[in-house]
Amino acid sequence: MTIYWECLRGIVLREWLRFVQQRSRFFSALVRPLLWLVVFAAGFRAALGIAIIEPYDTYITYETYIVPGLACMILLFNGMQGSLSMVYDREMGSMRVLLTSPLPRSFLLTSKLLATALISLLQVYAFLAIAWFYGVQPPPLGLIVALPALLLVALMLSALGLLLSNGIRQLENFAGVMNFVIFPMFFLSSALYPLWKMREASEWLYWICAINPFTHAVELVRNALYLRLAPTALVVCLGLTLLFSLLAVISFNPQHAALRRAA
């Protein structure tokens, strides 16, 4: 077990060191949700009134409503970008060093996903801290209770990113991932508007949003932040994390990319 622990510790430490070295990456990851919080929310506050809905006990501002979704948006973008960079590394960079380690590939990849997820959490908490000073203040205990929920969501989205990346030939195809995965996942969810609001607009759109894994991720985090448990969201996120991780590890193979190129 010591060997595995040392390996996991080393992988997490490396991600931390890289994170510390790349401060611009940290700030740029914060800009996107902050723009939504400060600019977008200001414009839509009046247009979209929010009723009293679970898990909130009273009327809330639109800013308060979208903060959990924006926290998950950080995890979504980080998960996708992190996994795509793993694909780039797989063929020509540090991933080769990782893969020539004698430890099982499944363990190495899971450790890498976990390390990426932990670093993403730092960015989420930095965002939540700024949001706090901006006036969005969930119960302080909720910030602690939300930690495992955020970690689970980060793992789920990183694993999904890795799974998708395994089918991508070139990093340039990230634009396609943005258009066909990240944006639809984000907009067709409860991150920006409650599902009942969506239902008013379109029944079928509502159902797409309801089965979107990102909706469950957002609701899990939203409820945890306000000291509630969303059992369905928890089960969905747990199940999908396991499924995505399993499929991602099975399909991750540098040889596949080489064979695809040759085909």
Partner: protein
Amino acid sequence: MNALEVSDLGFAYGTRRALDGVSFTAAQGRFTALLGPNGAGKSTLIALLTRLYDLQQGQIQIAGFGLRETPRKALARLGVVFQQSTLDLDLTVEQNLRYHAALHGMPRALATERIELELQRQQLGERRRSKVRELNGGHRRRVEIARALLHRPDLLLLDEASAGLDPASRQALNQHVRMLCQEQGMSVLWTTHLLDEVHADDDLLVLNRGRLVAQGSVASVALDGEDLAASFARLTGDATQSAPAPALQRGNPAAPVPILTAPAGAPAKATPAAAHHTNAPHDSGRETS
């Protein structure tokens, strides 16, 4: 026991065969040069030896451990320096080494001890806190060698490790690895397409079009009166460089063989004497055993 045993190795990218029936050994404590022109299959072979690619056909044993049956034990005995740098440029030399030690599950105290030792050996002690980005190409290669040796492998595999270095750094790196081989009894597999990186007393493997076309000592691969450049050109048909090739200095094993310079259309004429040619391509009509 051999440091490396490869038997009947084959690999195909779809319908295109990159390696076909490759078999060879790398002896313990020896410097083995794997020579081949671009596209010979060297990179595929390295990817298989390092388990980046899964074995399709054949067997690989590293220090007696089968890569297919006991990959963990086999990889634990292999140190690798890839052609393209795999160092993390934003981390320091020491941080890169610590990361590698962790990937091999090395306890921290042992890692500290080994890192200290390897940094001194590679004369990098003063650069330990330098970011890799600040190092020149030669020093980066030394860091990679230090990293590859941290877990005390039986076999050090260097895949075109001198690529991108200036001639002086290239020679220094080659000498440095030879010193490791001589002083520490390290087995080395050095892949290259540059003949001046091969010395007369090396064990030599020549790969061409996915097949091993010769193996043995440098002298045994050459036919009578033939230098290495001419042998290489004869075996691979690679005679792309036009300057005349000075003869191999057999009396001075330490003397490097000059860069591949066989005249175009180098002859394949001599007698089938001492050379041990293996797996020659059936489609080429070149000399075979």
